[in-house]
Subunit: 471 residues, 2 copies
């Protein structure tokens, strides 16, 4: 074991840096910091001490202490992650940015905001909505997740087809490096080739290359026109087959979300909601936005017609806010609903080229049959990113479940790779998927990643045990 | 000196790998590979051998040879670079990708193309234009530059305000690493968080982290409507002051290009062209595009009105292809024209936050006066990226010029830094700007860059002497 325990002396030193209120070791209080949205039983791990710093300087001091004493640090946002990235798997220091939630600046002339990374993502948009602006980089969990977590995972969301993911909107970062230095990467700049793009390397590095304490994010003009289509299909295959057809048309929807029957039903029951034709075998939820209502309506109609010509049973237009919000709420709550109904599950995040998603559905059917488990599926079909969810069969034992999951996943990942895909589109590798990295990533590429990690963090104190293991 | 000379034995081994036609050492033939678009006298350097491989496998073998024998390799595209990035400053092997210009695949369903990196950028767009598609990541030098060079520099261009720069369109890369391994980074994926984003680290790394042999690029629907405004102002200050006003309006132009009087005149004389009111003190060239002619015209009119309310003398609408192409040709040829008229110059590439560009103009005036040199200025004002060009005063000696340039640049860069800017927006650091890196980049950030370089290329054989020096 490479790490030292957190002794009383170290806790005292942390208290000296942060004050007694921001350092705690009582088990009851620490429990909430021992897991994220992955299975507590499978991935949960208690930290030895939890700290809640409020400045980059404090964090830098803690990081230097951790290097000196060989104590691992696990940075943590809201704990809403889906791959175990914020779990202190080697114990040590759990560093929560929860108190770092200040808005440093709203810079209207540059259409940027400077924020601490402990801010809840949705609050960002609430602050600028009235000025006709929005931050487009947010994920589906925007009501609870922190900006820092979005950056760590390079989170996607329901608008990524048109607007891209978090990384496109991160213009600058304040980072505490694994050696305890504070650096400012990027800035309020549209373009910048002054040396390597370290900012973009940090985005999506899951807290293994440092702790992001501030971010400068780009704002976009809030679209004034919006329309949603709920398109019903007989079965998942018909719905998914339609997605590349829409994408190739050249009209750019904000998002194309896919939901199979079980996903819609489970979420509707959880919310006590009903959608038209819940009986349909699958649905696409297609959003269009823009600055001209006329144009948006014309594009929406064109897409609706295209869907009807390509296997849809029925097309509903949701053109008012209430109906749109109802449908999106069903979509947003699928993961949460499945967690309640089927707590023993594996929520997947594969991503393939758009044109290859139709090939995934029969493979899910095949794996589902072979292992006698349900695999409901939903996700960001317009990005080729599907959240197939392996759900434990109530008739089988936990032992059987733990035995079959890696086998089923290996089959799914093998197909994904064969189709030119990868095993995570937006949830990250974290703890949950690291054992599959060697199968999906070329060994030489993995060595390049590890070389960066080792060069920046030679003591492996920064969020160790995530993405890959190091010897 | 850390490198060994290229001996006859090594040349023979290169011939074994590549064939005799693709290895040459005659000085006359090598001369063309000894410089780029920066000053030959100041930055030029002869290679010891030039090679023109045709596959990644050949390149991998050469890289392994170079590591074994400690010979530097300088990768080279079209040689149209503006920062000396492709100059073999330590001699050694000059590796030109000129024969690697094959189109591997045009994938319409995924709207992507797979290309070798020696292809001329403009040819990419010629191939897909009829299908209503375009590659939006191209720079101003598209008629001569190679895709590989665009990727190495993360090149920008005249459409970056709306479409962003090269990096946004690079979805996948085939890379020969500095150790001579071949890796595939990214893929035909809209999103991907399967480990660190090495692809984006390679973009803009100026060939110092490996040689990009293939790229998968994203295509965009070709806009069917386009309009250009040529807006005249009394002086540069009035023109630049107007840019943040336009940007804050929320209408997103394709680009906002700025040209001062001397830039327009010089390019017009070079092209034997005339624009209306060449006598104006400065111009903005504003392009709008979209899918609806009506919408584009409405937006164009709104921007025209806004300009007239904010200091413009006159607004010309160029709504047909011929006039648009004439104006853009003037803009594209400014750098070339200045090179002919004033070959002794320093073409700069500073980038600042949009709202800060008005503060740059008086500083240019001040520096111009202080050092008694002309500093014509043009560039991508909508990105905050200005190509101020220091031009040698014909009355002064070369010695005086070489003495004053670093002083004048240090003043310009200091102001740029103070305004939150950086010293290169799209041309790169290369050879030309590396001596200023320590002044603009925090030492801790520079150490992080160097740590990656050292970890990946411990023998420093891959394009050494660029971006920063290593001891």
């Amino acid at each position: 074991m490479r790490y030292n325990p957190v002794t009383k002396k170290i806790v005292d030193e942390l208290i000296q840096i942060l004050g007694p209120k921001n350092v705690f070791t009582d088990v009851e209080k620490m429990e909430a910091y021992s897991h994220d949205e992955t299975s507590v039983e499978e991935y949960g791990h208690m930290p030895e001490v939890v700290i809640t710093p409020s400045t980059a300087e404090e964090i830098a001091r803690v990081v230097r202490l951790a290097n000196r004493e060989l104590i691992p640090i696990t940075p943590r946002g809201a704990g809403s992650g889906l791959s175990g990235g914020a779990i202190p798997v080697f114990g040590g220091i759990l560093l929560s940015v929860e108190r770092m939630n200040k808005v440093i600046e709203i810079d209207y002339p540059n259409m940027m905001m400077v924020l601490e990374t402990g801010i809840v993502t949705n609050e960002v948009n609430a602050l600028i909505k009235e000025q006709g602006l929005f931050y487009a980089g947010y994920p589906m969990s925007l009501e609870t997740c922190y900006l820092g977590g979005n950056i760590a995972e390079n989170a996607g969301g329901g608008k990524a087809v048109k607007y891209g993911v978090t990384g496109r909107y991160v213009m600058g970062l304040e980072l505490v490096t694994p050696q305890g230095e504070i650096v400012e990467l990027g800035g309020k700049l549209s373009k910048d080739v002054t040396g390597y793009d370290l900012k973009q390397l940090i985005v999506g590095s899951e807290g293994t290359l440092g702790i992001v304490t501030k971010a400068t994010i780009k704002l976009t003009g809030l679209p004034t026109a919006k329309s949603n289509l709920l398109v019903l299909y007989k079965n998942p295959k018909d719905a998914i087959d339609c997605v590349p057809v829409i994408m190739a048309k050249g009209l750019i929807p904000t998002g194309i979300e896919f939901m199979d029957k079980l996903s819609v039903q489970t979420s509707c029951e959880y919310l006590n909601e009903s959608l038209p034709y819940q009986q349909a075998g699958a649905m696409l939820l297609i959003e269009m936005d823009g600055t001209s209502q006329e144009q948006v309506e014309r594009d929406t109609e064109a897409i609706g017609d295209l869907c009807m010509e390509n296997g849809a049973i029925e097309v509903y237009v949701a053109d008012n806010y209430t109906t749109q919000e109802r449908i999106w709420s069903v979509r947003r709550n699928i993961a949460e609903a499945f967690k309640v109904v089927s707590p023993i599950q594996s929520l997947e995040d594969i991503v393939v080229p758009i044109a290859a998603i139709p090939d995934i559905i029969p493979e899910l059917d095949r794996i589902s049959e072979k292992y006698n488990i349900k695999i409901p599926c939903y996700g960001h079909a317009g990005d080729g990113n599907l959240h197939a969810t392996l759900v434990k069969n109530p008739d089988s034992t936990l032992e059987e479940w733990h035995d079959l999951v890696p086998k089923a996943l290996r089959e799914l990942y093998e197909v994904t790779k064969k189709l030119g895909g990868k095993i995570s589109g937006e949830h990250g590798i974290g703890l949950k998927r690291k054992k599959y990295m060697e199968e999906i990533i070329n060994p030489a590429e993995l060595e390049l990643m590890k070389a960066i990690k080792t060069a920046w963090d030679p003591n492996y104190i920064m969020n160790p045990g995530k993405i890959f293991d190091l010897e």
